[in-house]
Amino acid sequence: MQATKKFNTNEILQKYWLLIFTILFAVVVALVEPSFLRIGNVSSMISTACLTAIAAAGLVCVQAIGEVDFSTGEVMSWSASMICVLLHFGHVHGYVAAFIISILSCLLLGAFNAFCHVVLGIPAFLATLASANVFRAFTLLLTDNTTLYKGKWDSKVFTFLGQTKLFGFLPMLFIVFLIIAVIMVFLLERTKLGKCLYAVGGNPRACEYVGINQKKYKVIAFLICSVLCGVSGVLQASVANGGGANSGDAYQFQTILVCALGATFIKKGISNIPGAFLGSVLLTMIANAIIMIGLPNFYQYAAQGIVLVAAVLISVRIRAKNERS
């Protein structure tokens, strides 16, 4: 009996270590520097984490089919710029309309990625590297290489989603993220779409045997990813009260990093949204804590890199243990 009990604790530790580590981290930092857990600080960390997490939710879909998307940052820049340009130059009246159009335009970007990968047969990592360049070009063209800030729009409405804090501390962004996360998790876990996406990534060959149309789901995955990155971009613009071609740059690698971390949470090697969110929270906390403690900000990169390596090592160990054949 003793042996099985021990195994269970071990297992739980390995599954939930990301959550445990995040909580422990927060506690330790708070002990060293109590202002870390100040309401204002916490809500600002959550805001930042949500922006990454929303884009990561999209990337999770692409990773579910077994590919990557390197154009996430540029799509975000595009949609952030799009909404600014639409409202600033009066092409569209009304925030909601601009919001919707910006996000829908990202569908075209996703379609481009899907075309390069599925139709032309270019490996996704290369195709999206190339398309990142192309999207950047479009964004630069759109914004005429400027960054629009505090433009001719009603700032109150524009920054509503990004800067409002409910009850004084809960960022509106978190609500938005929650809604998206719930929808996406539901989609991925409970619907046929989700099952098929994971099936394509799980074993393309087996999909042929059970009659799942790989191409269709690959296209859908890229479309979803671009749309969600678009949402993130628009929200970013809301937070910053402006946007330009560089809006998404910082998020490019963050999304991938966050998904890699998230893949070590519960699902052992499969990218997932709760994990990605935890990952964003953890990374944001690390960045924030480093500053709070008084270390120069670049230490966050080292910390993040080390956490990533540790996370993957654990994940690799779990997977090796779990698979017999």
Partner: protein
């Protein structure tokens, strides 16, 4: 059965089909066409100063690309290459700030290269021994190196008055108008070409990436070869980074981040040139010149030039990739993105 064939009748390599010939020279051809177009549009693109600058930039980018090429040949998508180059530069920069004289430059440079090699080996350990997916290991290393370089450069654009004027010479000097970096680049290209195509180790690096099983079957020690590719790659990246610092006379974290994408583009474009489907040295050479020319040209000609540059880079990339997938069977080494 044992007859000796007349050596004069042996053909080492068959002639390429017209289609293959066209594909393999397309990049160079495209570059020449673009040269002509740019010249017509704005002759100042080819002024002496501009050409000097382009050659120098292409060289630094190209040397890092050579380093990247060796690692990518064995199938590792090295996102940390740029930072390895910045690391070497940072070490050199901070050591010189401690007041090294001419002789000390050699030591500083040697240490810079050694540091880069050390991280190359760490990358190898992570990927080969600990079996962390190569892509993730590169991502993590990139971040860690960002911190290390920031530490060394005191998180700013680092420059010190203690850097002697002699340090500038290598990066900013020129011989009959040809910048030293370019001469070094050409020299390195020649050396790398010989190493990659005409030594056993270099050929084994390619073989390990192309078909590891075949390499193992003929007795090649694939683990050792992979480590060698990491080390050689790190050395080249280091040289590129140090040149960059010498030329700009400062070093910063951004340097490493900025050079990553151009180097990556160079290597991948180069794979569409000369021997489509295989990373190669002439390809890196032409690819570096091509991307820099494109960037410089579009900036000079179009006043809002940024977008044109990005668009053309992206399109060039796509065309190159399309060509590679269409012409070559068993082409570029497979890159793994499993988590």
């Amino acid at each position: 059965m044992a007859k000796k064939t007349e050596t004069s009748k042996i053909s080492v390599r068959a002639k390429q089909t017209p289609r293959e010939f066209f594909t393999s020279w397309l990049l160079l051809f495209a570059m020449l066409v673009i040269c002509v177009i740019f010249y017509i549009a704005n002759p100042r693109v080819f002024s002496a100063g501009s050409v000097e600058s382009m050659l120098a930039t292409a060289s630094m980018q190209g040397i890092v690309a050579l380093g990247l090429m060796f690692v990518m040949t064995t199938g590792v998508f090295d996102l940390a290459a740029g930072m390895k180059s910045a690391l070497a530069a940072a070490i050199v920069g901070s050591m010189m700030a401690e007041g090294f004289t001419m002789g000390g430059y050699i030591l500083a440079i040697a240490l810079g290269i050694a540091a880069s090699v050390a991280f190359g080996v760490i990358h190898g350990v992570l990927t080969i021994n600990l079996k962390i997916p190569g892509f993730i290991a590169a991502l993590a290393l990139r971040m860690i190196l960002q911190a290390v370089v920031a530490l060394l450069t005191k998180n700013t654009v680092f420059y010190s008055n203690d850097w002697g004027e002699q340090f500038k010479v290598i990066g900013q000097g020129s011989l009959f108008g040809i910048p030293y970096p370019f001469l070094i680049f050409v020299a390195l290209c020649v050396i790398c070409w010989f190493f990659y195509e005409r030594t056993r180790t270099g050929r084994h690096i390619y073989a390990t990436g192309a078909n590891q099983t075949a390499a193992a079957q003929v007795g090649i020690n694939t683990v050792k070869i992979k480590y060698i590719s990491f080390i050689v790659g790190a050395i080249l990246c280091a040289i590129g980074g140090i040149l960059y610092t010498s030329r700009n006379f400062n070093v910063c974290v951004q340097q490493g981040l900025d050079i990553q994408m151009p180097a990556m583009t160079t290597v991948l474009l180069g794979a569409a040139f000369w021997e489509p489907g295989k990373y190669n040295v002439p390809g890196c050479f032409v690819g570096a010149l091509f991307t820099v020319l494109l960037t410089t040209g579009t900036f000079s000609i179009f006043t809002g030039g940024l977008w044109v540059n990005a668009l053309l880079q992206g399109l060039a990339f796509l065309i190159a990739l399309g060509l590679i997938s269409r012409t070559m069977d068993g082409g570029l080494s497979k890159v793994n993105f499993d988590m």
